[in-house]
């Protein structure tokens, strides 16, 4: 095997990528699917509502707002700046507290409160800020709440909203096209057009070709997986761990892609195989979407061992140590796939030579 020749094959794949519809699709997919899902369900991992305040009289509301966990509060110098920043959606809403506001509230004078709302903020965010603001005013006035609210959790304690459960779906789409479909289609194309023949009569081996194509696929898939998590604020404070797991997952799918690409005789066979076998790859996603299904079933599917750790870290707040067993199994699956790829490659090379 020659790393130099693999590098040239990698370089060719990279150079031709702007001309490949499939690469374009792989890059566009994370953005497209994030847009579609966030349009339907809202952002998967909504950040806190952002509130800007102009405090012209040292109001106690400002201090109280800054102490809230569920709202990010920023003090701004003047009302013009505040309005500009709300208009540009730096803040979901902005409050202008005039001098003497607290005293006027306590005296029961009903003073005016200037409240700017960004047109781009979600309805849910506006409701949160409105309720929070009224609560803060009530606090300044010294009013007691007229009722005692008794909170009773119902349903499953570990319930995860549907929007959060879609995370593995987005990740598998982002990674699968680049890691699995791209090298598989590329190999089938080279075999169909016999360009692989031309490459293999130079000192380049099939291993050099597979390493070059596989490296390109893994890098692109990992990057697109990272982009997907970034778009959805799903790193959970562990970007390094997430990137590592995405890399291992991309490796796994890339090796599967190489096997498919070496096995499929033509592009129609490849599409059919992916359509038929895709359910296996997507199985963990379905079980995440429907948590009532028996959760031991997806453990028979290799992709479970990188999708589940990503889900557990992003949604449940697990650490790398918590997901290490699954990640280790994913790594073992990758290692086990390597000799299988080598065997299929040898067989494919012979098939290619005896095919007229």
């Amino acid at each position: 095997m020659s790393l130099r020749r693999s590098w040239y094959v990698f370089g060719r794949e990279l150079k031709l990528s702007p001309r490949s519809p499939l690469v374009f699709f792989a890059i566009a997919m994370p953005f497209l699917i994030t847009f579609l899902i966030s349009s339907v369900f809202g952002s998967l991992f909504d950040v806190n509502p952002k509130l800007g305040i102009v405090d012209e009289g040292d109001s106690a509301m400002t201090v109280a707002a800054q102490q809230l966990d569920g709202v990010d509060t920023t003090v701004v110098a003047d009302a013009i700046t505040l309005r500009t920043r709300v208009e540009s959606h730096d803040f979901d809403a902005g409050l202008v507290l005039p001098a003497g506001f607290d005293a006027a509230v306590r005296a029961g004078e009903n003073p005016d409160l200037q409240f700017y709302v960004s047109g781009e903020s979600l309805a849910s965010t506006r409701a949160i800020i409105a309720v929070t603001t009224i609560d803060l005013v009530r606090g300044v006035a010294g009013d007691e709440p007229p009722v005692d609210v008794v909170v009773t959790p119902v349903g499953a304690e570990d319930y995860v909203p549907i929007s959060d459960r879609l995370l593995p779906t987005m990740v598998i789409y982002a990674v699968m096209i680049a890691a699995l479909f791209l090298p598989a289609a590329s190999l089938v194309d080279e075999r169909e057009k016999r360009t692989l023949d031309a490459v293999l009569v130079t000192p380049t081996t099939i291993t050099d070709v597979l390493v070059g194509k596989g490296t390109f696929a893994v890098i692109l898939a990992t990057v697109m997986g990272v982009v997907t998590l970034a778009l959805n604020n799903a790193f959970a404070g562990q970007p390094g761990t997430m990137t590592l797991i995405l890399f291992i997952g991309s490796m796994m799918l890339m090796l599967m892609g190489l096997i498919l690409g070496l096995w499929a005789k033509d592009i129609t066979t490849l599409y059919t195989a992916i359509k038929a076998g895709g359910i296996v790859i997507f199985l963990p996603v379905l079980f995440t979407l429907f948590p009532g299904l028996p959760q031991w079933i997806p453990k028979f599917v290799p992709t479970y061992y990188f999708l589940q750790p990503i889900y557990d870290i992003a949604i449940r707040g697990d650490t790398f140590a918590d997901v290490l067993p699954e990640v280790a199994i994913a790594l073992v699956i990758c290692i086990a796939l390597v000799p299988l790829v080598a065997w299929v490659a040898k067989r494919a090379e012979h098939e290619l030579a005896i095919t007229v």
């Binding site: 020749r5 016999r194 380049t204």
Partner: protein, 315 residues
């Protein structure tokens, strides 16, 4: 029956080829032969594609490999390129064992496939530069090679925009980019217009003159006759004979002179076999006849000889 095998001198060791006839071959030692194929056999399952084939090609020589589709030409080339491993027999290229030293040999091979297997989404120059890198050629400039095959104005056009003939010329250029010691050309002038075909034939001659051993498969008997130092007839996996085109034509068929002359209102034609007794006198008489129109010498074509050997034509 003695049939000289490919070699610069036409004499030397004796080997057995397909039909178990002893064949006299060149006096080259294996070390000086560019291609040395010895009793090679290959089967696709139960179908024997190459049956105890033996031949040699010395540096600077062109061997034309002639046979109909399915005769075993491509399978033989695939064994020479290392794509297929022979079931039995031995292949030595440039003194190295194929497939044992496959990578070293491939670095010195130039291969032109019958199928136009170029990267269509790349430009002509990108195709050449990519393959030059695979050969480990540093600082390769595609321009001279593109100029040589008449594509210098289409350097930066994608191959998908090339005509069939242009793609074929690019295939030839790709086969030459590593200045190969052994050139394996499968129908290199297929799809070319007559002018381009002449250009490619000139390139093949130049490569042979440089010292490259050339194995050329073709259906075109005139091309084989024109280019080849030796031709091998292959049919049903067996090499039927190998010899120079000249020897084949001299030793097979009948040499004759065809004379046409006007006698009054009629045109008469006379064929005089040269090997017949009194042929010289008959020709002299015919030439001195008033009303002589044309005189043509005639000899068997390679096609005729192939039919004689194989019992069938090339197509």
């Amino acid at each position: 029956m003695e049939i000289p095998r490919v070699g610069p001198n036409g004499s030397g060791m004796s080997v057995t080829i397909a039909d178990n006839r002893d064949v006299t071959t060149s006096s080259d030692s294996p070390a000086t032969l560019a291609i040395d194929v010895d009793d090679v056999r290959f089967a696709y399952g139960d179908t024997l594609a190459v049956d105890d084939v033996s031949f040699t090609v010395a540096p600077g020589q062109i061997l034309g490999f002639l046979g109909p589709n399915g005769a075993g030409k491509s399978t033989t080339i695939k064994m020479l390129t290392g794509q297929l491993r022979p079931d039995t027999g031995k292949i030595s290229i440039l003194g190295m064992d194929m497939p044992g030293q496959r990578e070293q040999i491939q670095g010195r091979l130039g291969v032109c496939f019958e199928e136009k297997n170029l990267y269509l989404s790349m430009t002509g120059s990108e195709n050449l530069v990519f393959f030059a890198k695979l050969f480990g050629i540093q600082g390769f400039k595609p321009e001279p090679l593109m100029e040589r095959v008449g594509l210098s104005t289409r350097l930066d056009d994608r191959v998908s925009e090339y005509s069939k003939g242009m793609r074929q010329r690019l295939m030839v250029a790709r086969a030459l980019l590593n200045t190969p010691d052994v050139l394996l050309l499968d129908e290199p002038t297929a799809a070319l217009d007559p002018v381009s075909a002449i250009g490619v034939r000139d390139i093949i001659r130049e490569e042979a003159a440089r010292g490259a051993a050339v194995l050329l498969t073709t259906h075109d008997m005139h091309e084989a006759d024109d280019l080849s130092d030796h031709v091998a007839f292959i049919n049903q996996g067996k090499i039927l004979t190998i010899d120079t085109p000249e020897n084949l034509k001299l030793t097979h068929g009948t040499r004759s002179v065809r004379i046409r002359a006007r006698h009054g209102a009629d045109i008469e034609e006379e064929v005089i076999p040269l090997d017949e007794e009194g042929a010289e006198d008959r020709i002299r008489d015919a030439v001195s006849t008033e009303g002589l129109l044309t005189i043509h010498t005639e000899e068997a074509t390679l096609e005729d000889i192939f039919v004689e050997y194989a019992g069938r034509g090339l197509t």
